[in-house]
């Protein structure tokens, strides 16, 4: 009986110490947001698309201001000069060969960018996870050699892209190392894995991410930020239709 009592006290003390040391889910998300959310971004990127054994590589230069304004220009030979301008919920595409600009809104923002598994939304937006999801800590484990917090995220609003996410957040650097993205029905849609994390200024930022579509066999996209500048001044005039066709 005495041994049982001692065990219970020890367990309670250990749990209390863990609870004090362990950040809450909201704290973890806030730290992730602090690392991954930006007011502006300018980068040169490389996208490797693998589908049914075939690999295609696309390179681009991009600049984005907040969540509403983004501009991408592809630089790989096949798509050289193709540009995208996102203003709010509207997307404009410029095709240099035809010297034509096409406006598309709605669903296309959610389609895979240039045939990849990365949607325009995912490529261009900088949403705060804390604003969109409620989170609970499901535990702590090792993931590919790193200690991670396992978080389960549930969308606060029905408009969130993914109804549920399981995140593995680096417990020391507070960067998402993997995310399982689920449909409203509960079906697993995509898995993202962070392949490389870089220290930019004072923040850790994922610079190489692999996204695989779970509804397609052998389909994955690796998105790499070759060079990146965060929170640098960006001229808002760059996000205009007149700039798109220049």
């Amino acid at each position: 009986m005495k041994r049982f009592f001692v065990t219970m006290v020890a367990a309670a003390a250990a749990f209390s110490a863990f609870a004090q040391a362990a950040p809450t889910a909201a704290e973890i998300l806030a730290k992730v947001d602090a690392n991954e959310k930006f007011s502006s971004i300018e980068y040169e990127g490389r996208m490797e698309l693998v589908l049914a054994g075939k690999t295609r590589v696309k390179t681009m230069k991009a600049v984005a201001l907040g969540a509403d304004k983004a501009f991408i220009e592809f630089t790989n030979p096949e798509d050289r000069g193709v540009r995208y301008l996102k203003l709010g919920d509207e997307l404009w595409m410029y095709f240099p060969k035809e010297d034509d600009t096409v406006k598309i809104s709605g669903h296309l923002l959610r389609e895979g960018m240039m045939g990849s598994d990365v949607s325009y939304e995912e490529a261009l937006e900088s949403d705060s996870l804390s604003e969109i999801y409620d989170a609970v800590v499901k535990g702590r484990e090792d993931y590919e050699g790193r200690p991670v917090w396992v978080l389960e995220l549930a969308a606060k609003k029905s408009s969130a892209t993914y109804a549920r996410q399981i995140l593995r957040v680096d417990a020391e650097r507070y960067v998402t190392l993997s995310a399982e993205l689920y449909a409203k029905s509960g079906k697993l849609l995509k898995i993202s894995r962070t392949l490389e994390v870089r220290l930019i200024g004072t923040r850790w930022y994922p610079v190489k991410v692999e996204l695989s579509d779970k509804l397609r066999k052998d389909s994955r996209t690796t998105f790499e930020l070759v060079s990146i500048k965060l929170d640098v001044p960006v001229d808002p005039k760059r996000f205009s239709l007149s700039e798109l066709g220049k």
Partner: protein, 419 residues
């Protein structure tokens, strides 16, 4: 002149073989011309019918916001009171109405995924406006045995290796904007004439879509049917009239007839019809050359006879008139036969059609956006019959006149010695 007509008739009947050969040439030339016109008109009708049967209906009512952004098939703009529009449409002459909600989706068999143009449909009324239910070639149109049932275009199902009874994952965005994906059982495949439907069409019931897309009663389009009109022009006029009536009653909505929706195709059709006239002219010229050649042969074979007539005292002018009358009689007989032959060919094309599969291995003739599968039907073109007949008679007159004038100018001795 009466005597000349009698002699001409007698000559036409006397030279039965020559008359028959000339008549047959005329008959084929004019018959093919009439059939060709009917076939071109039929192709236009089929293309528009296919649009009406599978996508545009006779008229479509949407909200203006939906119309402006319909390329993105948004689930943001619905009809507030579709029942009121349905009631007005039926009062304005529509034979049936049905509701649809379009959305972009992706279909996956876990190996491959293809984009689809999907629709939430009302299984009970969709068949009264669209031909999808009638185009089911395997399975059953929404039997209601499972909560999630899907009907697919035949080519789309084949591309994903799906058969009736297989389960497939349909993914799309819900109305609020969340990703959703769920399993649906393939209950039927449709062999639709519209290539867009065949290769990218996916249809689910409103009952399933309500849960899957969180539609909350959203209807993005109301489709209206009209009784089948006798001709394409009449069908377009009636659709326009229905759309105009609804526009007057619901100015806040966008009502578009098939003529409005198929504006690009109809503009192309007008361009095509100009090209068709060139083709028809070529057909007529070929027929005309045949007619001229046959009548010339007939005249030159009878030069000696002309010499005899002139030797008996017939004037050159009478000889010329005699041969002209003979040519016109033969031309009229041939043209009449051609018109009847053309009528018969057109009747066959209108009633039975020509199976396209006879000419194309996969049973479909892809002419860009013009869907032509199954059988190609013709359409009556009464004007072409009149034009064909008059053309035959006029060409015969000209064809006979030229050698007749030469024959009339021949010296009697030259004509008698002509070999």
């Amino acid at each position: 002149m009466g005597t000349l007509w009698k002699i001409a008739f007698r000559n036409v009947l006397r030279h039965k073989r020559r008359t028959a050969i000339t008549g047959v040439v005329l008959m084929f030339g004019i018959g093919v011309y009439i059939m060709f016109g009917a076939m071109l008109a039929g192709m236009d009708r089929m293309s528009i019918d296919s649009m009406v049967d599978y996508s545009t209906a006779s008229a479509k009512v949407t909200s203006p916001g939906y119309l402006e952004t319909m390329a993105g098939t948004p689930l943001d703009y619905g009809l507030e009171d579709p029942a009121a529009v349905e009631k007005a449409a039926l009062a304005a002459g529509a034979s049936a109405t049905t509701r649809r909600t379009a959305f972009v989706g992706q279909l996956s068999n876990y190996v491959d995924a293809l984009p689809v143009m999907a629709f939430a449909v009302d299984p009970a009324t969709d068949g009264t406006v669209f031909a999808l239910e009638r185009a089911v070639d395997a399975g059953e149109w929404f039997p209601g045995r499972e909560a999630n049932e899907i009907v697919l275009g035949r080519k789309l199902a084949a591309e994903l290796g799906l058969s009736v009874g297989d389960w497939v994952v349909l993914s799309s965005r819900t109305r609020p904007g969340a990703e959703n994906a769920d399993e649906f059982v393939v209950v039927a495949t449709v062999d639709a004439a519209d290539p867009q439907v065949a290769s990218a069409g996916a249809y689910v019931s409103y009952e399933a879509a309500e849960e899957f897309l969180e539609l909350d009663g959203l209807v993005t389009e109301l489709d209206l049917a009209l009784p089948r009109a006798a001709t394409l022009d009449r069908a377009l006029e009636e659709a326009d009239a229905l759309a105009a009536a609804l526009r007057a009653e619901f100015p806040e909505l966008s009502t578009r007839s098939v003529k409005d929706q198929a504006a690009d195709y109809l503009a192309m059709r007008n361009m095509k019809s100009k090209f068709s006239y060139v083709m028809m002219l070529v057909v007529l010229l070929i027929g005309g050359v045949g007619i001229v050649n046959t009548i010339l042969m007939a005249v030159y074979a009878r030069v000696k006879e002309i010499g005899v007539l002139r030797a008996y005292g017939m004037l050159g002018r009478d000889v010329k008139n005699l041969f002209t009358i003979e040519g016109v009689i033969v031309g009229a007989i041939g043209s009449l036969a051609g018109a009847l032959f053309g009528l018969a060919l057109t009747w066959y094309m209108v009633e039975h059609g020509i199976p396209v599969g006879t000419f194309f291995a996969d049973g479909s003739l892809d002419m860009g956006n013009l869907p032509l599968t199954g059988s190609m039907y013709g359409e009556w073109k009464p004007l072409d019959i009149v034009v064909g007949f008059v053309f035959g008679v006029v060409v015969s007159f000209i064809a006979a006149r030229i050698p007749a004038r030469r024959a009339a100018r021949l010296e009697v001795t030259d004509a008698l010695r002509f070999v």
